[in-house]
Symmetry: C2
Subunit: 241 residues, 2 copies
DNA sequence: CGAAGTTTTGACACGGATCAAGTGAGGTGG
DNA sequence: CCACCTCACTTGATCCGTGTCAAAACTTCG
């Protein structure tokens, strides 16, 4: 099923009832494939659907002056545009990295589901809140960390989030991003990203070839990145409101 | 009334019914004063109330290694810890700048109000979403802008948000922050903030003395800051779900 | 096989950090 | 009411992390 990663991830922190799971599975979805670099939504668009990532990676991007800044990365199970349910006008772009599949759900169906289910409303609200927590963490990363630590942090966060949805195998994961993408995410130049990635390699912390990253020493990498997964709110007590 | 700024701000984008306004005004609140630098919540705390800022300024702060990063600023009418309704464990600090007054509402009362009112649920959900949009903007600011532009951006955003709640008079507003605070917000050193503030002064863009800032040329300041208020989602069509 | 994009390397420039010291203003106590 | 203390602001000198520019090596794909 297309939404199984989404449901698994929501269930990891939310204690969904079988009925709620069925309600989610009953949502009408339209699957769509995107090619590398293809836009899912652009700044200024008014969204009428929300899209759950089924496979591949997706990122949010904002153009500031002549530069582009990647605001956040999304993995299967995420709904990168869930916020459009209440703020339909996009203030940034949503873009695919590598090929991806997205399951679109009309706002109207989501609205009626949420109107009928207060618990699911809280589940989705909570989901947008952890999304916000990730942005806060990224503000802290860009405001305080060195280039090397920023890049390490990106790897740590991605590994952690992929692990939650079962896409991390032996600390290794698919990574279709270019060094230019990483530069845009970390607020650095490509040249410097390249040197820092080499530094991580030579310290024996990562391997990265052909779109696949392997974290060789996650503990040390997390120390270097000042990474603490609390902000992802995965281990908070599973709650039922 | 303590919540009037909050209600005014919510109303500016949400079209509250008289009943909903009364429901908000009926919430039990406990006013509390905070002194300069006093903590409202600390990282690790589990919140049991949400606090609406009644007067003064408040900021979120995260300690990363030996540095402190200010994540966001809040003005009267904001509820900086609204997210604790669903993520009660704080992953950062909440702190007063200058003296402030906060109106605390127990989570339990908010939960029962929201359970009984789907429209108000959406109003508050939406509010946390624009909060998230501000973090995204700040990611873009830190990732792409020069020191001078970052500082300009901070002034622009603050002026805009204060205007919404009627606290901007002739482009002038109270500003109890130190240059160290600005350095923590912009990811810069105090020394450099000082030089950049002087640069803004000498360009005739701002005046700043005794806790009061005056924007002399908002248009030019916004150009310099690449500031575009769309991300604050104030002018989106007023909506009723 | 050629073309285009990505990664890598080197040389150099610059924005902003750091260190250190001095100035000024508000607050307190004698 | 003045002397002092503290904290914020200011200034100058120097250093370093990262950006910029340019070109080469490698990869991928048509």
């Amino acid at each position: 099923m297309s939404l199984e990663r989404l449901i698994g991830r929501l269930q990891a922190v939310n204690d969904l009832s079988p009925m709620e799971r069925d309600q989610l599975l009953g949502l009408p979805i339209k699957l769509k494939q995107f090619a590398d670099g293809e836009y899912i939504l652009r700044e200024g668009d008014t969204a009428t659907h929300c899209g759950a990532v089924v496979s591949g990676y997706v990122f949010r991007q904002k153009i500031v002056g002549s530069r582009s800044q990647i605001l956040a990365l999304y993995v299967p199970g995420d709904i990168p545009d869930l916020h459009t349910l209440h703020l339909p006008r996009m203030d940034h772009d949503l873009c695919s990295v590598g090929p991806s599949t997205v399951a679109f759900i009309p706002h109207s169906d989501l609205h009626s589901l949420l109107t009928s289910s207060a618990p699911l409303t809280h589940v989705f609200w909570r989901d947008t809140l952890t999304d916000g927590a990730v942005f806060r963490e990224w503000v802290a990363v860009l405001g305080t960390l060195s280039a090397l630590s920023r890049i390490a942090h990106l790897f740590c966060e991605l590994a952690f989030r992929l692990e939650v949805v079962g896409l991390l195998r032996n600390n290794s994961f698919e990574f279709p991003f270019t060094q230019q993408n990483m530069a845009d995410a970390c607020g650095l130049s490509v040249v410097h990203v390249n040197r820092m990635v080499q530094e991580l390699r030579s310290r024996g912390l990562i391997e990265w070839k052909k779109g696949e990253v392997l974290l060789l020493n996650r503990g040390e990498l997390e120390t270097l990145a000042e990474f603490n997964a609390d902000y992802l709110h995965i281990d908070d007590d599973t709650r039922r409101i």
